[in-house]
Amino acid sequence: MLCEICKKNQATVHYTKIINGKIEELNVCEECAANSGEFSFDNPFSFHKLWTGLIEGFHDNKQKQSVDNLTCSFCGLDYSQFRKTGKFGCSKCYEVFEDQLVPLFKGIHGHDKHEGKVPIRANKKVANERKIEKLKVRLNELVQKEAFEEAAKVRDQIRELEKSLGDNRE
């Protein structure tokens, strides 16, 4: 979304104005938000405030520079772009920017650790169990044929799958 004031930069500050019970959403860029006296940043979810807090957290310009240059190898997004748009480019970005994210998430959500649903991988578990059964049949065949080297490989595969099933049960 483009800034509604300058119509040039990405809008990263989302602000709700309330006048006589009428709600007006404003989406502006950091610059315009800072330049306009109209905005008060009472909104705890203002990106502007969060980012500013983060920039101030740096010891010096050199450190800021090195953070800005952090780049995700999967999608090509670097941290300075992330700061501008407020959007990750892909799920790998989370690893690349990990150290910066804790204060950011604390600012937005008041927390930095997920509590809640964990994928159960329900159908995958079933699929793995079926795979193990098949491999066990194959293992028997190989042992009977005395193809021990092949059999050892299959046995390792089974162990690997059983281990992953065990992990998911936790």
Binding site: N20, K22, I23, K87, F88, G89, S91, F105, D112, A122
Partner: protein
């Protein structure tokens, strides 16, 4: 009529609808705003392949945004079946709509998947169960982007964790009459809730309808998020009901007059803007809520609030209408329904 409006729900005198949505992404694809058309098509195909495995008693229809007319796109938004964000990049986005229209799976909105369940009245339990089921099914086949520490990974940091947004749309004309809404909104913002107009971000609060939703998605589990919002909604219900009773006691004639004037206006007007129509429909809904208007159903009023919107009115009359024509046809449509 939007199908989701049918069905039972609690506290319909204040709560119009309950909406729950989750954001999910897949590993190994860039997020939608970084995607090429080709990459988005590949992801869409992967999801469609998975949908072939759904149980035979459920069915979904698939719609590509760029295959819909602009009028239809807008009408789907007006019916709350898709979000405005879904039509921003028409060549990337599509959606699957369940036949009862109570569930939508949006593909390539801000996230790869936005799953929503929409129900009439207050109904968080059924909503969450419905979402959970769809999520478990999809998760069995798809490689979700999930991290032990940060939870479900989303394009925007404001959704990370549960990716959950629960909201209720409330009709609070009396709280708004006595000027309590501003204070209420400010209070909600302080406890991490957002209040918006009915069509989400960037829309004004027409017809005294407000959408209240959670803002925090990280560090609280789904049940807690839902419980918190539910408590706030109960408070709103109690306050609005209290003010209604009070107004009826003290200003019965004024209230009845206001309601029946709106009723009469809607019944006989020959030209009406959507804004004016919303205002009077809101009064008529209040009449129904207070037991003053007896010959209309909630679902009739709710449907009208949707059908009078610009996209929907053009869809009903099956052609493009300019502003002037729309106002005329809108009045005609309302007359036929009341």
């Amino acid at each position: 009529m939007a199908k989701w409006i049918e069905g039972n729900g609690q506290y319909k005198d204040v709560v119009v609808s309950t909406r729950i949505r989750i954001a999910r992404n897949l590993d190994n694809y860039r997020f939608p705003h970084k995607m090429s058309v080709e990459e988005s098509e590949r992801l869409t195909q992967e999801i469609l392949d998975v949908m072939k495995n759904i149980p035979s008693d459920v069915s979904y229809k698939f719609y590509k945004i760029n295959a819909l007319t602009l009028t239809d796109r807008i009408a789907y938004i007006e019916e709350h079946l898709i979000s405005p964000g879904l039509i921003q990049k028409p060549d990337h986005s599509s959606f699957l709509l369940r036949d009862d229209e109570k569930a939508t799976i949006m593909i390539n909105e801000e996230d790869h998947l936005r799953i929503q369940v929409l129900l009439p009245g207050l109904n968080f339990e059924e909503g969450w169960n419905g979402i959970n089921q769809i999520d478990d099914f999809l998760e069995g086949y798809l490689e979700y982007a999930y991290d032990d520490r940060f939870g479900y990974l989303t394009a925007c940091p404001t959704n990370v964790g549960t990716g959950l947004r629960v909201s209720a749309m409330v009709h609070i004309p009396c709280l708004s009459m006595i000027g309590h809404v501003d204070d209420m909104i400010r209070g909600f913002n302080k406890i991490g809730l957002t209040v918006r107009g009915i069509y989400g971000e960037g829309t004004e609060a027409a017809g005294d309808l407000y959408q209240i939703s959670n803002q925090v998605t990280l560090g609280e589990d789904e049940e807690e998020i839902i419980r918190k919002l539910k408590n706030v909604i109960y408070q709103i219900i109690n306050k609005e009901r209290y003010v209604r009773d009070d107004l009826l006691k003290k200003k019965r004639y004024e209230i009845e007059d206001k309601i029946f004037r709106s009723y009469g206006l809607l019944k006989y007007a020959r030209k009406i803007s959507s804004k004016e129509a919303m205002k009077h429909l809101s009064n008529v809904r209040l009449g129904k809520e207070m037991g003053i208007i007896k010959d209309m159903e909630f679902k009739q009023i709710e449907s009208l609030m949707i059908e009078i919107q610009p996209g929907s009115i053009q869809r009903i009359f099956k052609r493009e209408l300019d502003d002037n024509e729309r106002d005329i046809m809108r009045a005609k449509h309302i007359r036929e329904k009341i």
